[in-house]
Symmetry: C2
Subunit: 556 residues, 2 copies
């Protein structure tokens, strides 16, 4: 069977200027990066601001399983199908991180006949955005320790430094380190650690900023730590924000690539969907909405994590609202939510599908709570049976939505044509009445409880007294108006990854809260959240290399 | 006065395809990175291999002082002058490192009217090469710790791991760390540290490899540490070399930019000139020699460090030989070598110049020892007097060379026209008879002693018995044939940075030797060598930012 890389390589790519022309982007707006990638200049982006907005379609999914549900392929397939039907469409995706690429997960450019290309280049380095973000993160870190070294004028308490270093690599050995060892010339020893770049607040800032001024202002607001008496010290206090913005300037321009079908795709930014908001940059989404009649974009993990944050954090920050929502599911994953072991997924099990639908149904209803019309994309596997599919269709019909079988992985645009027509219908229907789940004025604890109750179906949130006090302190410091970004496992509506399906009445145990003042949200951590993955016993990196012609092999 | 950035910004840049066309590079060979930078495709590089080589001119300098001697500006000015005189010329330079940019040193793209542009982009990220090198370095590091974590099949001794992590930032807090703290999920705690990217062996490998196969093979030979019984463990043993090569593939293509005069410049790679060999990539130099009749390139620090390594390491590895050598000096620096304090450099002091010439004279004679015809470029400052300049001219005439006043910083190509004519004369004279200082078969200790005696004028090398034993062990392991890369202070011929001028009879104290099996040299460290700089009390970063139009300001 042809691998994703085989299919990507076999494709004939259009020159990027031709791709741009298909959506009306003039040649002068392009900053080419090779023949098949380009950044869209910030001046061009600015010049589009007064144009009307196209409709926004959010692609999200059920609680993910190791089997993979296919949100990215669905986003790409849907975009290609809409374009094929004559709707001027752009897709907006996250950039892949190098870490997972060398670990277990592989790349993040779709798969089968629903990919963005050039696959190898997007997965490795791309236009350097993540490297710029890593550099900005680490410049701030170096300036923090340098400030301590030269006398600590601002009075930072070395025990209260919250700013960690970043690397775009799965490297568990850097999770927890003692830094500045070795004596006087190396500074004051202290505990520190690295997060993977997608977990850096700089990534979240980069993805939420509306323009360069906003970027600089948000960078300046980043809190690196506190003084002994609890006063916040910011990147601006350290005079690091200007240089950080300079490091990010070129990266801040959205990246244009193409799908296998030659349609335009913006791929820009990529924060974690747990401790950050998990979707591509506001810059890319807003630009796409100016350029296209329909924009299809995705949010990370399941709809409880990614879509909730997309709606409550990103849409709020960007002043945008979706017209429709696609929830992606697979029969295989529904069977897993219905209790079937991975080894038995190939056999028909209608009863298990019926049980597992509870997960899908709740995600659909949750999206409806935001005022969005929903359609379900059932990403087809050859092992799916008619009877299993029928069960899903019936269940969705009862929720007032439609489950549509999609075969874009195998068939490209044609495989998502039905889905595209359904999405066209939802947009044309004009029934979307988007409202965020909570308003700015609610207390931070209230916001957390609202998400837990309405989205997770938790009966309560367990907030330890020190955590509650910290939330009140954020409010006293003037940060009560920001949204909350809840970090919990993506595998369950609850904080327990083993609770599949649609658990009810669980208690969400809040462990810690952090203020991301630059990004503009409070992170609320429930359970163990990993901000630096490790490599598996046999990392994908072992199989990656160059063939005799210098082509990259082993990426998947 | 106009800053370098003002001058660079005021310049009208040619589209990079026009710059390429000036030297006969076809449009198809270009991988554009924005409008004014391009990589030259590896297929194009291969297609040039059978063409005859142009003449190579090495620009080096006296022992540097904080005043700055101007090797990079001289390289650029000389290139522009040769092109203006009708000689088809290309320059080849190192890429700047981000670290110094934010520290005290500023960028590294020349200055005044002798710059390569776009200045801001070359100094910040450029085409991402250093980020790719950092990633490859850190992937290997992550795979080392991951190997320990999953059972250590290869039997690596955690105390004998030599491979350090890298970051392209001046960050003293990372020089010495304890990593993998925090318990079982994070691995086995051990001592570790970060070097700045330019000090990574991956950088040296990148800059010495002749082609992709050579790159992959060298990466595979990198030694990450030893087993308990002293057996070397390599990147190939860890199956990391393929993925490292994949990470480096695109970066490995040389970068084309232009000088302020619109002439082509290759800017590619940039290893440290102490623990590595300090000059741009073999790929760039060899390609430039295929494309141009004359190639002007520079080596880092003074000629005792940079030029010696260029000649004994790079020329040996690349199979190339220079036709002429330019030694750059300033009257101000000669005065400092003659004992004048920095505050008094503005006043005429012929006697001090006469004393300081000892430093210049030795560098000139050293280059002559390699069989190279030499010309001295006297980089003009307005405070230089006729009498001072005359002293330099006379002294150089006695050495059979010429000192030529250059004003390219103020006047661009016209200011280096005399120098260009002298260089044309040296090349046309055909007197170059390049020989490396020592042959492959000499013992490693013998090679170190030869450089110390012939170039540094040391009376002896103090090699502690354990260091001598280590050198013998490298020879037993089959690495006796490689050249040596001596790391010592750049400020003196000796290992004592305060010994200015031309000290004689000093003893070179060898502290440590390391085998860079991938790069293909043995590093011999004399004195304290910093592989991770720190930031100053007021880092340049504090003044860097974006202006109201989004342009970068504060770079210098």
């Amino acid at each position: 069977m042809a691998t994703d890389l085989d299919i990507a390589r076999a494709a004939t790519l259009l020159p990027i200027a031709e791709v741009a022309a298909r959506i009306g982007i003039p040649d002068e707006a392009l900053e080419p990066y090779g023949r098949h990638k380009a950044k869209l200049g910030l001046d061009f982006v600015d010049s589009q601001r007064s144009r009307p907005d196209g409709a926004l379609v959010l692609v999200t999914g059920i609680s993910p399983t190791a089997a993979g549900e296919g949100k990215t392929t669905t986003t790409i397939g849907l975009g290609d199908a809409l374009n094929s039907l004559g709707t001027k469409t752009m897709i907006a995706l996250r950039e892949p991180s190098l870490g997972p690429c060398f670990g277990v997960k592989g790349g993040a450019t779709g798969g089968g006949h629903a990919q963005v290309v050039p696959m190898e280049e997007i997965n490795l380095h791309f236009t350097g955005d993540f490297h710029a973000i890593t550099s900005a993160n680490n410049l701030l870190a170096a300036m923090v320790d340098n400030h301590l070294y030269w006398g600590n004028e601002l009075g930072l308490d070395a025990r209260r430094i919250a700013w960690r270093r970043a690397v775009d690599m799965n490297d568990r050995a850097l999770r927890s380190i003692n830094a500045a060892l070795g004596g006087v010339p190396n500074g004051f020893p202290r505990e520190d650690g690295f997060d993977i770049t997608v977990a850096s607040e700089v990534m979240a800032v980069f993805c939420l900023a509306r323009d360069l001024d906003d970027l600089r202002a948000r960078l300046g607001r980043i809190i690196v730590g506190q003084t002994r008496d609890g006063r916040n010290v910011t990147a601006h206090d350290l005079k690091a924000d200007g240089a950080m913005a300079a490091l990010l300037r070129d990266a801040f321009a959205p990246n244009l690539v193409q799908t296998l079908a030659g349609f335009p795709a913006l791929v820009h930014g990529g924060p974690f969907a747990n401790i950050a908001h998990g979707c591509n940059s506001v810059m890319a989404t807003r630009l796409a909405m100016k350029l296209a009649d329909v924009v299809v974009t995705e949010a990370g993990f399941g709809a409880d994590l990614g879509a909730e944050k997309f709606l409550d954090i990103k849409c709020r920050a960007a002043g945008i609202a979706p017209s429709a929502c696609v929830v992606v599911a697979t029969v295989r994953a529904l069977k897993m939510h219905g209790g079937v072991a991975k080894s038995a997924l190939g056999a028909e099990d209608v009863a298990a599908v019926r049980r597992g639908i509870a997960n899908l149904a709740r995600h659909v209803q949750n999206m409806q709570k935001f005022g969005l019309p929903v359609v379900v994309a059932l990403n087809h596997f050859t092992s799916d049976t008619e009877a299993e599919i029928a069960v899903v269709r019936e269940a969705m019909a009862k929720l007032g939505t439609e489950a549509i079988l999609c075969t874009h992985w195998a068939d490209g645009a044609a495989g998502a044509a039905d889905l595209a027509r359904a999405v066209q219908g939802l947009i044309a229907g004009g029934t979307a009445a988007f409202e965020p789940l909570y308003n700015d004025h609610m207390s931070l604890a209230g916001k957390i409880e609202t998400v837990a109750r309405e989205i997770y179906h938790a009966s309560a949130v367990a907030i330890p007294p020190p955590v509650a006090a910290r939330l009140r302190r954020f409010e006293e410091q003037g940060f009560g108006h920001v949204p909350v970004c809840i970090a919990k496992t993506q595998y369950s509506f609850s904080a327990d990854p083993s609770l599949m399906g649609a658990p009810e009445g669980h208690v969400l145990p809040l462990r810690e809260v952090r203020l991301s003042a630059g990004a503009g949200f409070v992170v609320a951590i429930a359970g163990d959240i990993m901000t630096m993955p490790g490599l598996p016993r046999r990392p994908a990196a072992e199989g990656i290399g160059l063939d005799a012609r210098g082509r990259i092999e082993g990426l998947f």
